[in-house]
């Protein structure tokens, strides 16, 4: 038994962590929030070859396994890095899993060399889940609007959900083409930029089929679970560091069980989430039939851990944690961004139970 990432994936993770510890983190997040330029860091990330990690060698990439995408997602989450890497990973996974040879040849080389920034988007600003899209495709063009879409402002390609004649599925939309309007939309996350993408008869190239849409959602859930795990871990680390240093009533606050037990609960939720995320990563890479169930569980467990760590990190910091100048807000706000990015805990918990019911029905 070897229930852990491969040495290759671990080496990539260590490289990413080392680089992002230096070049990203809350300080950089704050600079971007205050109007700093995102582009230089993204160029460095492209030079390091991370958007190319998953792209096959034939398309100019490195051809690593999906474990590479998982570790990059986690490190992006941990460092709050203001780059469109998460979106790039999600889009790449969609092209790899569902794309035709022609679609892969058209888009993957550009994603690998950084000349194309690709994003994904399913939300339409309202209360609908990822299982629903009001954007309509007919006659090869799409009409509707997607919002919020992370990192769309500088993107060239959007992979969106829309409803065609046979139901909901993914489509490729060239954002530099006709019928596309991208405008900023304000969200609770002040670091990751989001847009509203309005599509008025924009050409839409079907990616996969209605049947395979949910396969992509599973894979997206696995990657998003690792991102949430990374962000939650950083929030826990911040809380624990403060509890070791802050003194109240003559001793470090980390001595009080009211504080240390909160920290222990953060660790407990993170360990459960990490187990589920690794299981889902295994199911994704090996094509195991448990993927639907494992991905949903990973998504739910990681959102549980993230909400708890982000909220209690502010609480452990007390008044200083509630100030604008404290870094607590970045994790607290990012929590909401990651929920909005792929459907809430409620949606994924329901999906988990439905897959358990289906499994039981098959077994019966």
């Amino acid at each position: 038994m070897d229930f852990d990432f491969s040495d290759d994936a671990k080496a990539l993770r260590d490289q990413a962590r080392k680089f992002l510890d230096e070049r990203a983190g809350p300080k950089v997040a704050r600079a971007v929030m205050d109007g700093g330029d995102r582009a230089p860091l993204w160029r460095e990330v492209v030079d390091l070859g991370w958007p190319a990690a998953r792209v096959p060698e034939g398309h100019g990439g490195v051809g690593m396994s999906s474990e590479a995408a998982c570790v990059l997602a986690e490190e992006t989450g941990r460092s709050l890095a203001p780059v469109p890497l998460m979106q790039s990973l999600l889009a790449t996974e969609a092209l790899l899993t569902l794309g035709s040879a022609a679609q892969q040849a058209r888009w993957l080389p550009g994603i690998a060399d950084g000349s194309i920034v690709a994003v994904t988007g399913w939300a339409e600003g309202g209360a609908a889940s990822p299982a629903v899209a009001n954007a309509r495709v007919s006659g090869g063009t799409v009409r509707g609007s997607k919002s919020p879409v992370a990192d769309a402002a500088a993107a060239h390609l959007a992979i969106i959900s829309a409803t065609g004649d046979d139901g909901i599925q993914l489509y490729l939309v060239d954002l530099t083409g006709p019928g596309v309007e991208v405008a900023p939309v304000a969200t609770l996350d002040l670091v990751r930029a989001h847009s509203i993408v309005t599509l008025t008869d924009a050409p839409a190239d079907p990616l996969g089929s209605p049947g395979s849409y949910h396969d992509w959602l599973d894979r997206a859930a696995v990657l998003s679970a690792f991102e949430a795990l990374g962000t939650a871990t950083a929030a826990m680390d911040m809380a624990v560091a403060y509890a070791k240093e802050r003194v109240a009533f003559g001793q470090k606050i980390g001595r009080y069980q009211g504080v240390k037990h909160k920290c222990a609960d953060m660790f407990i939720k993170l360990e459960l989430a990490r187990g589920h995320a690794l299981h889902a990563a295994w199911a994704m890479e090996s094509g195991a039939p448990e993927l639907r169930q494992a991905a949903a569980a990973a998504r739910v467990a990681s959102l549980d851990a993230l909400a708890f760590c982000a909220e209690e990190n502010v609480q452990i910091h007390g008044g200083i944690g509630y100030t604008w100048d404290s870094d607590c807000q970045f994790y607290y706000r990012r929590n909401r961004a990651l929920v909005a990015a792929l459907g809430s805990r409620t949606f994924w918990a329901e999906r988990l139970v439905r897959s358990l019911e289906q499994r039981n029905a098959v077994a019966a």
Binding site: M1, D2, E67, V240, Q251, V259, A264, L272, H276, A301
Partner: protein, 406 residues
């Protein structure tokens, strides 16, 4: 990533599976009526003897101790295979999992020669005499004293929460031999004969109605110095060896305890006033939460196994297991009873799932305390894993007999 056994583990598993199929057939299903005490002891001994004869006892112990000298993975593989059956093993879990490893690590050569083999063969049952009425989580606060008298020690005091004391032949006991030393420094451990004059085990009736534990009284009980475990005053260190083994032994969900699947089965049979229970969002969300906890702990254990398989030692991270398992059992059972309304309260019903959930509700209250309370385990996680400072212990460096507790 690979969830499969190595070739070696797979071969061991196949052999064990074949052996179990040939020898554990009568334990394929749980007993229809619980065993009487004598029947439980008889079956436990006979199962232990059968395993001993086949080489499935002391799997990780050194060969010099009569063990098999194999890896922790082999032991886990056998336990996994054995857990497919309802074999009676609990009589020997504590003795072989905790007491005897302490004996062969810290015992004097004559004691090792005398006690290890009969225990492994299922001829003698052991118990662990640690907790006291005034020393539970704060184990180093024990008051049972041992006083040197010639070549012997004389033990007086009371132990509590002793599993299987009434069925045991021997026990390992922590005593205070120097009340003027700080609490952790004045302790010494011994092997004690549970049939010796002055030892009295009284079953303790639990809140659940069951009697798994005892209180044990020691009045002028004589123990030879050759039965001392470790040096005089080193009892705390020796006890930590025992507890380290406990950490490996206790943890996962009790086998055959109800889980998320039980809740699903129960919910499928219930109609609420807003429709079938399985169609209610709160029910479905609760099933998901139980699944996350139940399966999450299994996956955490697989990560620990994976570390073991690579020759690493699983860390105190494993402390999360019981914290999650016990409270999840309690919450899930409470939710299931809520869902069953008054029917969840009546114990004469015919739904076997509901009966198991009621049992789990009663048992979980004890599980949250046994083998380290939820609170102590959270301290361990916070202090040993996250590196937070320890609780203030005002009595730590005081002579025991000068501290508030004494």
């Amino acid at each position: 990533m690979d969830f499969n056994d190595t070739t070696d583990d797979a071969a061991y598993r196949a052999t064990a599976r074949t052996w179990l199929a040939a020898n554990a057939g009568e334990y394929r299903d749980p007993p229809t009526v619980p065993y009487s005490r004598d029947e439980f002891v008889r079956r436990s001994r006979s199962w232990q003897k059968a395993k001993h004869a086949a080489g499935y006892t002391g799997i990780t112990w050194p060969k010099s101790m009569g063990g098999q000298g194999l890896s922790p993975m082999h032991s886990i593989v056998f336990s996994q295979e054995q857990s497919r059956y309802h074999t009676p093993t609990s009589l020997f879990d504590i003795g072989l999992g905790m007491c005897i490893p302490t004996v062969f690590t810290h015992g004097q050569p004559d004691a090792v020669a005398r006690y290890v083999a009969p225990a492994l063969a299922g001829d003698e049952v052991w118990c662990q005499l640690f907790s006291e009425p005034a020393a539970g989580s704060d184990l180093a606060g024990i008051r049972t004293k041992a006083v040197k008298d010639g070549d012997d020690w004389v033990i007086d005091g009371q132990k509590v929460w002793t599993t299987n004391a009434h069925l045991s032949d021997f026990g390992i006991i922590v005593t205070r031999t120097d009340p003027s030393a700080p609490k952790h420094k004045g302790l010494t451990m011994f092997i004690v004969d549970m049939h010796a004059p002055g030892v009295e085990a009284r079953p303790l009736k639990q809140m659940s109605g069951g009697s798994d534990f005892n209180e044990v009284f020691f009045t002028g009980v004589r123990v030879a110095d050759s039965h001392r475990l470790g040096a005089v005053g080193d009892g705390w260190k020796v006890a930590l060896t025992t507890l380290m083994h406990e950490r490996l032994a206790v943890g996962g969900k009790p086998s055959h305890a109800p889980g998320y699947a039980t809740l699903m089965a129960l919910a499928a049979s219930i109609d609420t006033d807003t429709g079938p229970a399985m169609a209610q969002r709160d029910v479905r969300q609760r099933i998901a939460a139980s699944y996350i906890a139940d399966e999450g702990i299994k996956l955490t254990q697989m990560r620990a196994l994976s570390a073991l398989a690579k020759g690493q030692v699983p860390g105190p991270e494993q402390s999360i297991s019981k914290v999650v398992v016990a409270k999840t059992m309690q919450d899930m059972a409470a939710f299931a009873m809520d869902l069953s309304e008054a029917g969840g309260f009546v114990t004469t019903g015919t739904d076997p799932d509901l009966a198991r959930l009621q049992g789990s509700y009663m048992a979980s209250a004890g599980l949250r305390i046994a083998g380290g309370t939820d609170e102590i385990l959270r301290n361990i996680i916070a202090e040993r894993v996250l590196g937070l400072p320890g609780d203030l212990r005002p009595d730590k460096d005081l002579p025991f007999n000068a501290s508030v507790a004494a």
